[in-house]
């Protein structure tokens, strides 16, 4: 089951810049692509911001960011390195990567004195991997992720990923 954001009143919210263009519109299922970044970025907030933040951390490669070497996951590196060869590998890799992202969320979300209060619909409560697959013929993987917030709403999306090699 998929829920859509329960409110559209985002006044006074903390905002971020939109990176994943397709996330801004609540959709049932949407494949997003980072190459769609426009020259005039828009702001994003609420659960879309949550999805964007999750995706950015999820797809960043652990150790690749100077001075933030504990940011990101090893998933992309494993994909490019050919470590993930079957569905079992993929599910396991997702679990590890998701756990890392959850930890990184918590790290800053708890520092309310520095970053301000976090709203319930931006506060990640749980993540579900609804569906996943490896398409050997096209060399792509498919991850359908559902983010559930403390407020109870959720958003589902397919992460943009490259192909395993």
């Amino acid at each position: 089951m998929e829920n859509y954001p329960y409110t559209t009143n985002y006044s006074g919210r903390q905002v971020d810049i939109e990176l994943l263009q397709s996330i801004t519109k609540p959709v049932k299922l949407k494949k997003v692509n980072v190459s769609n970044v426009s020259e005039t970025p828009k702001i994003v907030t609420g659960i879309e911001k949550l999805a964007q933040r999750y995706t950015l951390l999820f797809l960043s490669t652990l150790g690749s960011i100077h001075f933030d070497t504990d940011q990101g996951t090893e998933l992309v590196g494993q994909l490019l390195g050919g470590v993930i060869q079957n569905r079992g590998n993929l599910e396991s890799a997702f679990a590890v990567a998701n756990n890392l992202v959850m930890q990184q969320f918590e790290k800053d979300d708890l520092k309310t004195d520095i970053y301000g209060e976090i709203q319930d619909d931006e506060n990640l409560d749980a993540v579900k991997l609804l569906d996943f697959d490896i398409e050997q013929a096209t060399g792509t993987i498919y991850l359908q992720i559902q983010l559930i917030t403390v407020a109870g709403d959720d958003i589902t999306f397919i992460v943009p990923t490259s192909a395993p090699r």
Binding site: D16, I17, K49, L57, H66, F67, D108
Partner: protein, 544 residues
Amino acid sequence: MSDLTLSDVSQADFDTAEAILVDLIRAQYPSLDLRRGSVLRDLLIRPAASVYALDTDRLATLQEQMSITSIAENEDTVDPEAIDNILVNFGITRNVGAVATGQVMVRVDAARQYEFVAGFQFATLEGLLFNASRNCVVKEDADTLSDEIKLNQSDDGTYYYFILPALADEVGANYNISAGTTLDAVSTLFGFVSAEAYSVFSSGLNEESIAEVLTRLPLAISYRALESRTSINAKLQEQFKDTTINIQALSVQGYGDDAQLRDKHNPLGFAVGSRVDIYPRLFAAPQVVTVQKEGTRIAANTYQFTLESADAPGFYALRSISELDAIINPELSFGDLPVLGSYAFTEVRSADGVESTFHDIVTDVEAAFTIYQKAIITVTGVPSAETKHNFKIEAYYDKGLTDIQTYVDSTDVRNLESDYLIRCPLICLVGVDAKVYYTSSNVVDQAKMETDIYNYINSRSFVKQLTRSELIPILYADGATRIDLGQAGMQLQGTVQDASGTSHQLSGDSLDIVSIQDKSKLLTPETVVFAAELESINIETILE
């Protein structure tokens, strides 16, 4: 400083910069989400924090490099160029140290011609490298006037040997090795048997520390001319700053000073001024020059030769006279003059070549320790009946005296109403014997103790005395828990030779120059420096 890059920025510095930027931006724009994973953080915070942290580090480095005191506190990590950049504002540069020089006695198995190029290397067992200082040819019928070196046969005829001038591969006082130190030939020499230091290597000097430079700053900003004590020091320091002549300390005796004898050359004997005697200390540890001289037999077992002014310019005292192939063990000297193992000898010094100069030198005492002295040496007890006999002579001297004398004699430099004479300082050769106690929980380093004492003594110049109480804190700082100050405990001994050639022995709690001063023999605290050879510092460490 300009070499600092992001790689040099620490995580802690970056985190600090990042926190500051987050605070600043959120204070102005609280609606911006700057948590990890946000695009704004990647765009606004991370690059700015990187630059901010880098700039902060560069600024901190710059601040450190602008302060000599700060540099001194971080001397081991500071770029030497940064130090020199500051010092140049005061018109001085750090002394970069000096290489030790000496001679190597090389034994070979046969009489043949040997050819050396400068850079032929020898090494001690500890790995210190020494190089032949010049190209030369060694052969039995050498023409020594053309820089060839004579090959000698040993008394028992079992080997041949020659004396090769050498210098250390790098600067540093640790290259001042003792006479007799075993050397191995690193470069290939056909017929090589063995080699050793023919005499003590001296003149090796460590790079000047910042603390030492700081003591020179008053000179650096002073007026420079051959007038006052300070300005003379400053003038000479400036002139010889980038040369092998390192002026460690300097004393000036002028109008009205105790050790100024030359300005009273009038019937009434009153001082008229304009005579200036300059005593530059150009060494840390005593410098030794080794020469070979041929003596003429004048009586049974007695030979005589003249040590010309050019042989050892301004030499202070003779350290030893021995057989040509003898290497005297310096560990037995303990500051004595001459060292144990030397032939007995007498010396009569006199002025040499003064008449061709404008210098006002009347008596032999007035010529002492200057480049205008020579000495007739009579050696006794030589077990030989030959008409001629070769000797090895070691003398303490002040290398560079001639250069300084030439400089101050220049009409472009000197005060035309003055007569400057450069003298080797009188050297009070010090021996130290001490029993030092330590506990098992605090093991001490005996070699470091000896070196620290040695360095301290060699830094004392133109002071009235050297006391045990000056040395004791050094030993405590090196970990001693107790020092035996009883009868058989810490002993100080000093030997100083005055301008008439008389030796004076000092011992006890204090080596007090005042107690033996004799201004008519140029022996005053203002003319004497303390110095020690490492072999004369004997510290026994005892576990209690």
